[in-house]
Symmetry: C2
Subunit: 141 residues, 2 copies
DNA sequence: TCCAAAAATGTTATGATATAACGTTTGTGG
DNA sequence: CCACAAACGTTATATCATAACATTTTTGGA
């Protein structure tokens, strides 16, 4: 190995790094405008929505960030780079999400699609419900 | 049986019926604004977005219409009333969708969630790819 | 090194999606 | 027939996302 880091393309730009750090610091998915409103983002000089969306697009291209469609929000990927589909568990009480791998399920889903003659290239799964903490809190009340 | 129809609540209102008919006539999902722009809708006197959204909300409550999150669009449910989760196959070429039942897969997905202590109440699956027609057309070119 | 092409960014404006607030009408049960 | 709830109309506004175009930065050769 010639280098001490694993490369998947060029280094992140300053904007991209700033946005990624912001998402990592958040404990739940943030909308682009949530990100835009963060002090760290303003300090970095980012002040237009497009600036945020552009950084998010690049981060998604690399699989470092995922979009939660049903929330119009973005969350950093805590599973490291991966090829297979992931699903998200979204707590309707606290808004936090949990990412789950869908190894076998992806195969199953894509199989169901193939039965219909459909050639799948992307699978998205979002599940809503209560996270363990919120379920416990609800049970206690 | 006392009646010849199966009831699941009160009859649809005129607005709801108009919107449902519009979605049934469409060959792919429509956004609320797509619906708003249809001649049949204008003829029925519906002219504000909120009018459409309200009808769509009620239709979704009854399971007669589904929302495709990744398209911000709505499609009528051609599977009749159902409890279990459904998935959508979305063709990235023609924009048409196919609804597929997820009987066994839902169990699997919810099981994965339960492993994490998550109590799931809703599962959404959206898959993009090419429908049989578009795949054939692409192969021919 | 320096230049040219590509990528990223800044800035302004605008497009697309969705809901708040509030008053009126309609439908339904007592 | 009345009272209540649901649906509706209307206006305004909130929220999410991209177009267009000029400028700067990065990068990869000559």
């Amino acid at each position: 190995m010639a280098d001490h880091t694993h490369h998947d393309g060029p280094a992140l730009t300053r904007n991209q790094q700033t946005v990624l750090t912001a998402l990592k610091s958040a404990d739940k998915p943030l909308t682009a405008y949530d990100v835009l409103g963060l002090p760290a983002i303003r300090k970095a000089g980012m002040k237009a929505p497009l600036t945020i969306y552009r950084a998010l697009d690049k981060l998604m291209d690399r699989g470092l960030v995922h979009r939660i469609e049903s929330l119009n929000a973005f969350v950093h990927c805590d599973h490291g780079p991966h090829d297979h589909a992931t699903g998200f568990l979204i707590c309707t009480d606290c808004g936090r999400t949990l990412e789950v791998r869908l190894e076998s399920c992806e195969t199953h889903l894509a199989g169901r699609a193939r039965e219909q003659g459909f050639a799948v290239d992307n699978v998205r799964v979002e599940m809503t419900g209560r996270c363990p903490e919120c379920a416990a809190r609800a049970a206690a009340s």
